[in-house]
Symmetry: C2
Subunit: 255 residues, 2 copies
């Protein structure tokens, strides 16, 4: 048996991000991914050119087929795209009580292309943060969600929105090291990783899915968060150039 | 660097078949998968309940983004769904001269649920078989495409349709062993594998993607076909019950 992870996220045809990243990371960490695709994007390793959302009716039919068949040990949420899909996800989470939920609040691609309507942050704060076990925003996403520039204020605000643990990643910061900060009710802790040269496609998806796979396997939260970061760091160290744009993390196990 | 495989196939939310199987198999065999999703299916480990095809306009935009960015070392085609999408794929293949193409002529799911319009076999024969390097139908698919019940006649007919190598798999037969037959212009050869108990979700997708990954890595055709079968046999041997229906092949490397 392997732990089942329900992934709710977008599809990136170029294979760097979205459910490709999720499937590869969960597969490499010993789990099994089922996926509900919220949005079909047009993108390559350079950037996102557009997207079409999947209808909530189709998502609902797919979700019913999955829930009738499988038990899930964790949920990973990536691109949501619209308040309507966020509402569908919130209802679905209410049918999975006790299952850890990792929320990667995707608002844009690593290279900046938009992946969500303007009304998404409000719906996410109201409907998803209170249902998540762990949120993994990067600093710009945390600032947008919290409406504040200050890192610690963002961490506290997102915890106060109802999410017990918030990992704010420092990839988009300009510090010499990448500093990731975990905020919980009992305080904050941080990890520092060497900042690698270059730009990576799908590192945020990979991190959130790694956290979900490790929580699904029964790891305690802080241990899962630490091991997921180590896994992503290795994937970035082994990244390669599949296209002409950003590097692609190599999500096989390297340890 | 890893070889890039362009996958054109359906999406199975339950993770057993479709692009999940493709991504996992290609990832495990050292390649990298980019994917164009032709159809979003409603299914679980028991069967297919329905599907919605993706518009050719969106597929075209996605294909342009990929071709502008990446070079491909092989193409794998799975679910096509409609003559319109088959025509789109044929045009796309004409823009990738010299790239090996593996065609898994998906007409139905392993458990029998339909995945293609009635007009698909004709369009496949006319537009895809002549552009493929290797086709991997199971026996019912080969019989439907060739309009004949006899195995060897099917093999010859599909080669005559313009495909230089046709591997007809015997999973759906009732022989004590699973006998897979490869037909080429120079003759036929066969492999026999122990027939494993139980029913498997996504074994056909896994086989075709394994062939594509090995061809992308530069293996000669017969060697790729043999090694892909051995890989799938191991994946089936390690299959497990993710839901309540068919077993899921474990697509990690087991050697």
């Amino acid at each position: 048996m392997k732990p089942n992870v329900l992934v709710i996220a977008g599809h990136d045809p170029s294979g760097g991000a979205g459910i490709h990243a999720d499937i590869e990371a969960i597969h490499s960490l010993g789990g099994f991914a089922a996926t509900l695709i919220t949005g079909l994007t047009v993108q390559n390793s350079s950037n996102v050119q557009g997207f079409e959302l999947v209808s909530e009716q189709l998502l609902q039919r797919q979700a019913e087929a999955l829930l009738a068949d499988m038990r899930f040990d964790a949920v990973k949420i990536g691109m949501t795209g619209s308040p309507g899909i966020i509402h569908f996800i919130a209802d679905l989470l209410d049918r999975l009580p006790g299952v850890p939920v990792v929320l990667d609040p995707v608002l844009a691609a690593e290279a900046g292309g938009r992946l969500a309507a303007d009304s998404v942050p409000d719906a996410m704060l109201r409907e998803l943060l209170p249902r998540a076990t762990l949120a993994t925003p990067n600093l710009p996403e945390a600032q947008k969600l919290a409406g504040n520039e200050d890192l610690a204020t963002c961490g506290t605000a997102l915890c106060n929105a109802g999410c017990p643990a918030v990992l704010i990643t420092g990839t988009h910061d300009d510090t010499p090291q990448v500093r990731n900060h975990l905020y919980t009710a009992t305080g904050a802790q941080q990890w520092a990783w060497p900042r690698l040269p270059g730009s990576y496609h799908g590192s945020g998806c990979t991190l959130a899915s790694a956290c979900a796979a490790l929580l699904a396997a029964g790891q305690p939260l802080e241990q899962a968060v630490e091991q997921a970061q180590a896994y992503v760091h290795q994937a970035l160290r082994h990244a390669w150039q599949a296209g002409q744009g950003q590097l692609i993390p190599d999500r096989r196990r390297h340890d």
